[in-house]
Subunit: 338 residues, 2 copies
Amino acid sequence: MSVNSSQRIALIGLGTIGISMAALHLSRESNVVDVFDTRPDFEDYIHKTLPIYMSELPSTTTDSKLSPDPQPPTMSLVASLISSGRLRIHSTLESACASATIVQEQGPENVDWKQSAWARIEAVAPPSAHLWTSTSGIAASIQQAKTQDKTRLLVVHPFNPPNIMPLLEIVPAPGTSAERVEFAREYFSLPGSRHRPVVIQKEIPGFVGNRLAFALLREACYLVQEDVVNAKDLDTILMASLGPRWAGNGVFESYQHGGGEGGIGSFLDKLGGTMQTVWDGQGRVNVEGDERTEWKEKVVAQVNEAYGTLSAEQIQIKEARLKDIIGIQTKDYSRDGP
Amino acid sequence: MSVNSSQRIALIGLGTIGISMAALHLSRESNVVDVFDTRPDFEDYIHKTLPIYMSELPSTTTDSKLSPDPQPPTMSLVASLISSGRLRIHSTLESACASATIVQEQGPENVDWKQSAWARIEAVAPPSAHLWTSTSGIAASIQQAKTQDKTRLLVVHPFNPPNIMPLLEIVPAPGTSAERVEFAREYFSLPGSRHRPVVIQKEIPGFVGNRLAFALLREACYLVQEDVVNAKDLDTILMASLGPRWAGNGVFESYQHGGGEGGIGSFLDKLGGTMQTVWDGQGRVNVEGDERTEWKEKVVAQVNEAYGTLSAEQIQIKEARLKDIIGIQTKDYSRDGP
């Protein structure tokens, strides 16, 4: 089955990530999306939230493709998707999955829940259906403990906010078939996807994005604990240097550039001494357990004092800014040169 | 002396950082800048490179303030700055510093050189002059070993590329006077400065920005060494998630937001288990010494293959993009909101 053909996608769990995925899948004209969630107000919730996420997709797509047949102007977007059969709301997991070519779950981050969900899904979904989990932490190999076929499941891990962030970490289990990995990668690379899928070659706690984030966070917490800098100033440092640098270039590309003609090899020769000193002195604070967790109280207090609770308006402004930053990554600078 | 009054700034060492600083200081109408460098083509070099950096400053400043008196159109920018006495090229360090209110050095990253330079500077500069070093790694307390007065010197550490990056880490020695720290912070906060100065409270190797960068880099090198992901894909992951996130928000602010109503405290409670697992499993690779340095060959090969040597045109495009990303940080989203 080609990734370009029509897909029938069963979405299990319609939180923020699920709704955002529903909007993406529905933005492709020929897809049918089956949704299931246990929340009591599920149908109302879909009517209310889905249009918000769909309106964020490129307008050419939403205008021309979502409603190929003119609808009465009084009919809402969701009602029109339902009446055309492109969106189907289900009251059982089984009926949602029965005809799927792709099943994608965004359920609770709980090993038992996921293991039994996949066993139930395997029992009802067509054997050819692709199985995707949006987990941020439970490896596919653990989730599929109770399934027969160990070649189908893989992680498709989005980043918050999923309606804006381009990254999808695709993390297969050791036995996941290469074709299924490639299918997922291609699906999210199709025109109209805002995503940038990357295949992670091995299962590892935190995958890659959160491992990198937590490595930096650990040092950040240590520096606040040691009174080298306060939490707010540390954030300013990040926003005024590394954030923009890594939004424009990766970390390896930055140091390739920083090393001049000799590239990252020269950089490591030149800066190796300082780098090793920093690595030897890195803060080994902990977040759990009894030792070296004193930083938590100080960090939480400083962060609460600096930011409080973000208002809806503040979040909206932050998200608009984030979209602009990501928009710049795909702008063509060679055309409008200096 | 108020930070708002005219300053006479002696710049010692006119590499990229020095030239960029000269452009900033000269963009303030009432400043006089004295420059000294040992390169044989120093005067030619100033004529050639300074206009490039000055043209990047806000045009209202360069147009209206740099040439208050109309100059013959045939006179170059640098010639006009020299003829008006605002830029003075020196052939000795002593004459450059003789009348300074600020001495700022961007010389070699070499302890001996810096210690003897500051001893020479202290002997000739007015006792009230502020002493700033742009070092990325040699603490002020070490640099001032041979000076009498230990209250004057502090680090003003810029980030590459210094003509674009807003961050300045201000790092005093334990004995540096609070007034001198505040003077530096205010000077770089004046309208017309593109900089965001942050005071680091304690001397520590790598200061804050590089410590955070090297913490992330260490994990990145480990993940490549372990074949979890290749160097190019790791860069894509960073650019498609953490880079934009940290360009728009700091790391602490991001997790404050990520924790919902309970803020970063809730986030640490919820994600603490995964975070501790990741912290316990962090890669402890080294860049110097005999152990755990196997990653270097693999990383250098993958990065060279992915990026090669950046062309001048590629660098120009990258810098234009970086400027746009940083421009977004100061854009007012509340005015043109939805």
